[in-house]
Subunit: 329 residues, 2 copies
Amino acid sequence: MKLASLKEGGRDGTLIVVNRELTRAVRAGTLAPTLQKAMDDWGAVAPRLAELADALRDDKAPGSFELEVSALAAPLPRAYQWADGSAYVVHVELVRKARGVEMPPSFWTDPLMYQGGSDSFIGPNDEIELADEAWGIDFEGEIGVIVDDVPMGISAEAARKHIKLVTILNDVSLRNVIVGELAKGFGFFHGKPATAFAPVAVTPDELGDVWNGARLDLPLISTFNGREFGHPNAATDLTFDFGQLIAHAAKTRNLEAGTIVGSGTVANRDASVGCSCIAERRVRETIESGKPVTPFMKFGDHIRIEMIDKAGQSIFGAIDQKVVKYDPP
Amino acid sequence: MKLASLKEGGRDGTLIVVNRELTRAVRAGTLAPTLQKAMDDWGAVAPRLAELADALRDDKAPGSFELEVSALAAPLPRAYQWADGSAYVVHVELVRKARGVEMPPSFWTDPLMYQGGSDSFIGPNDEIELADEAWGIDFEGEIGVIVDDVPMGISAEAARKHIKLVTILNDVSLRNVIVGELAKGFGFFHGKPATAFAPVAVTPDELGDVWNGARLDLPLISTFNGREFGHPNAATDLTFDFGQLIAHAAKTRNLEAGTIVGSGTVANRDASVGCSCIAERRVRETIESGKPVTPFMKFGDHIRIEMIDKAGQSIFGAIDQKVVKYDPP
């Protein structure tokens, strides 16, 4: 089934079940008013949501309505945890190469992960509001999973069964802020403003054989100002799958239900497939010609991120956003 | 007023109002079932909670009961954001001095802050469960504030009025894990297991003249295995007050109601007042005698963190925890 949240009913939105074609939806109502409530009691709630999804498919769900993506918040409009990995190590290696520094070999065996801000996500069509173009505004196309309760110290193999939903996201990044911020040694904070999510999150069974239980074998398509920017495959060159990423996140603590774990920017070694963020293209340009050519995002720029299944259906719907100037109070 | 959460009624607990003496309490009930719900609508809910606090004080609150601290979760058992500063720069300077590296001068003007895990806090008397003593288990006594909605780009002065609650906390840290983790460049993750909070969070008016709107002028007392470990004053040597820390956190994004902002380990330049964490004592030992003497925490060790007002009353109640061995599944 496919789940989304309407921007109505409060800070956590209103949970809706969406059909496969992303054309119609129905409120989950008393089954679970919000996606967080569904995650809190997934074992009991999911089968009933699945029944509602079946009824919607068969045009037998009372109160169903036409889906408008602009009415959607992120599937979890706010979450208790957002733990983002950097699982395509080829990407990290490229970035280091452009900077002329060697990557520690341990990066191939020990995942990079940062704690992201999760209190205030933005919806698939929400504007990216930022005060300053000089911050080096960039998009990052990623895969994310939402888990139920994960006990501390779990194995990567056992972690797989905690993946309840899969989605895609735009981990908006401020490249010119990140440089100085990481140098301070405490990780990302200003450099990672509000993250945007796809219209829907889907249960793994929706994905069929492109989902192996821990990774998604399809291209992630990024379109920047109407031109394709990249379509790297999310299974190719994935160094750590979601079982490994969840186990990494849970090494010294429990993960509460509704925790979102991200893959980091989807990236392939093959340059011909393009990139899922501007920073990587700039790195490739630097390696090829000595300097970056593509500028970061300007106010008015558009980014679209989507994943299409083998039958041509958009799986998660499109993240489709414009960058706009924010005026502080 | 003083607010706490009982470990009952679900993942967010049940909001209670506690009297000044921390002896009696009453459920907030329909006013706000949980502290997060109260934060979500603070302007409307707070005056009604204050009325209930008055009734409790006057012994006129039906259903009031004797407070048992062991029945308490953290005031927010889970939160949407935990942004922890390092506002006592004297502490950072000491740590660097022991390592023989210079601290960048910018650290005196640009706050250090990390994004903490907020999905699963532990209560004031909960055991600190960890799998391995070799991780270098440490406590960190800190001040924390809980804010309502803070708009992106706010000034430090305007940020002060968003402080709705004040509390103290134990930011449990794994020192031997942090060294390697920070070297990876993405900040803390494994090195910061579940954070523990005091029994209650209080509105600023409870603090009287020791609260200047952005800092708390009282000693924070840490007692390790029954012996005083330190009592540094939380206003002395505070480089960035809470107005500045909140403004820093909100530089590139909005902060959702219920966000917790922390001060970092309370530390004074004056060595005679002791420390709020073992790491700092070890640093001082290293500077004095060439090597650290005090070991990190072992299974069975106790830590108590508390703040006493000028009349001798514990303001937030005591954090009082034991470290125990955790066996992974």
